[in-house]
């Protein structure tokens, strides 16, 4: 199966050839072009490392993003420092781009703490959100807050193709439009919602759903990092200057399983995976960079070393990391512990002490 991508916006083709006209809006310098590739290299390595850590029992579960690096990094690269991201659960590439400590991010998947251990407010990167599409209204609300406060903050919300079936997607798009909020709703259409292919999820092109809410809908080749960057940059500008939302559908492909607990062999056709592996976003972008003479051997070697360092950092922080102490079960349920909760905590602590 090959989705008809002919009309989706694209800047570089499979062979790394640049479409000059399409690229005319690009504002990236050589170091930016290389930084995109560096982030993609880091993400690929961290993603593979995370899957390995799950196989070794160090993570409880992990949802790989392999194949979606261009969609995640191209979009996140378009954000400013004070902008705020609301991720779903497959956005490690966005976390890398936003400078989140991946050990703190992966503590979510290790089962150390729900929401990981990073500070979602300071890092401008919300907590991993598992219930599908439920983060969309949160992002819209945060964006409304920024607008009411007259702050030039743009909110980016990530979700997948399956999320577009949920009420929260429709309600979120509608609220975003009605309240004129500075939000970018970024859908990574990776072809699959666990085992259900997108053509069984919806019969309408996702980007065209924007019409129903009176907002801009954009269709982009999500395996083209430059195209994804450019359309997102335009959407971010629309949000910042006009306070209007945009729905972006980035067409990509989930090369890996839904999660490490999934057996994609039961449903995902091998030839389809092979086909998309042949359209790898890193390979495509590398071809472009090499052709343009931007990427030399020593730069690439440095990126690989950076990626190895990141993998080592993840491994050092995750392997054997202690669980949260039992007393933390009762922290942060409320600002102040109620009498009833304090009693339950005492009981657990006494039991823990008795067990030595």
């Amino acid at each position: 199966m090959e989705p008809p991508l002919t009309d989706a916006f694209r800047i570089i083709d499979e062979e790394g050839n640049l479409d000059e006209a399409a690229a005319s809006g690009l504002d990236l310098k050589k170091e930016d072009l290389l930084e995109l590739y560096r982030l993609m290299t880091l993400t690929r390595r961290a993603d593979v490392e995370s899957t390995a850590l799950q196989r070794q029992g160090e993570l409880a579960v992990y949802p790989p993003l392999i194949g979606q690096e261009a969609a995640q990094i191209g979009s996140a690269f378009a954000l400013g420092e004070s902008d705020f991201v609301f991720p779903s659960y497959r956005e490690l590439g966005v976390a890398v781009t936003r400078g989140i400590d991946l050990v703190e991010y992966l503590h979510f998947y290790r089962g150390t703490w729900h929401g990981g251990t990073y500070d979602p407010i300071k890092s401008r990167f919300g907590m991993v959100t598992v219930p599908i599409a439920s983060q969309i209204p949160h992002g819209v609300g945060y964006a409304l807050g920024a607008k009411l406060d007259s702050k030039p903050i743009v909110v980016m919300v990530y979700f997948g193709d399956g999320a577009t079936s949920q009420g929260d997607f429709h309600e979120g798009c509608n609220f975003a439009s009605v309240f004129d909020v500075p939000v970018v709703l970024f859908c990574q259409n990776n072809g699959w919602a666990i085992s259900v292919p997108v053509e069984e999820q919806t019969r309408a092109p996702i980007y065209r759903k924007a019409d129903a809410y009176g907002i801009e809908g954009v269709w982009v080749d999500g395996n083209d990092v430059l195209a994804t960057y450019l359309v997102t940059k335009q959407a971010v500008e629309r949000a910042r200057t006009e306070s209007r939302p945009t729905l972006i559908e980035a067409v990509t492909y989930r090369v890996g399983p839904h999660s490490t607990a999934d057996d994609a062999g039961r449903y995902q056709p091998a030839d389809q995976i092979a086909h998309w592996k042949g359209r790898d976003p890193l390979d495509r972008y590398k071809k472009f960079l090499t052709r343009e003479g931007h990427l030399d051997k020593s730069t690439e070697a440095q990126f690989i070393k950076d990626a190895d360092d990141l993998a080592a950092h993840i491994r050092a922080g995750i392997v054997g990391a202690p669980p949260a102490p039992e007393s933390e079960l009762f922290e942060w349920v409320f600002a102040e512990k109620s009498t009833g909760l304090a009693k339950q905590e005492r009981e657990l602590m006494e039991e823990a002490q008795a067990d030595g």
Binding site: W113, H114, G115, T117, D119, P120, I121, K122, G126, M127, T129, P131, S134, I136, P137, H138, G139, V140, G141, Y142, A143, L144, G145, A146, L148, D149, G167, D168, E171, G172, N174, F175, V178, E331, W332, V333, F334, A335, E336, S338, T339, G340
Partner: protein, 324 residues
Amino acid sequence: MAEVTMAEALNEALRRSLSTDDRVLVLGEDIGRLGGVFRITDKLQTEFGRERVFDTPLAESAIIGLSLGLALYGYRPVAEIQFDGFVYPGFNQIVSHVAKHRYRSRGRAPVPMVVRIPFAGGIGAAEHHSESPEAYFAHTAGLKVVVPSTPLDAFDLLTQSIADPDPVIFFEPKSRYWSKQQGELGSETLPIGKARVAREGDACTLISYGAMVTRCLETATAASEDGVEVEVVDLRSLVPFDLETVAASVAKTGRAVVVHEAPMTAGFGAEIVAQVAEEVFLSLEAPILRVTGYDTPYPPAKTEKYYVPSVDRILAAIDRVLKY
């Protein structure tokens, strides 16, 4: 002394909160130019403008989710859910996110907000307009559940709920919206989490909240005519639950009847009975009884009188515990 209805008291609590804290926002369906179907937000949009008091599209899940995002930004949203039976589309947002945000973020990203819900029956309303869903929320860690029973207390509890650092599900007993009380708003303030002894007595304790507190007081008056003095405890909040005040009362009277409109099975009454029994078992002269709605869907308006606990049903329960 001024006389105030519960609807006016709630309206004034919103007004003063909007005045004293510019982070407070009021939102919901029909709460702007209409002033809410019960007029609880009457005139607030005119006074505070459309940026602070605004109508939303008709979608409860997004109303809650939007409020969470606003709270995360730093606002204090007060969202109105038009009727009890309409909160369910927002249930996932409340349970999965609002309740857990402080916890998941290790205290870094709390979402203080209030969800106001007119609840319970007794006003002859259509289906889905008379339900008592408080137990669902009391069962969910991370939510405070507050239920006023009088106008003055409604003012205090709503004011406190808006200022509270945690999310509050605020149930307004809609059959009491037009009840009146003499007194000054804000003159006598008990914190959230403290129950109130609404009437003193020594024969039996009636434990209740919301509109049923009034029903219990009517029952107490009737019992008094027969020489039986019952104590009435108004919980004011289910979470936190003031076991101390309730247990002290039951220890004194030795008998208790719990009254609520919600169905019996797994209702909040079951929790009250369990905790009180555990705390004051040796003081009990009789099993603790419950007088509640039946384990049926809330019935049609013409038959709701059979469902909502009546003075006679409560008197019968008192009789049983006294004769045990």
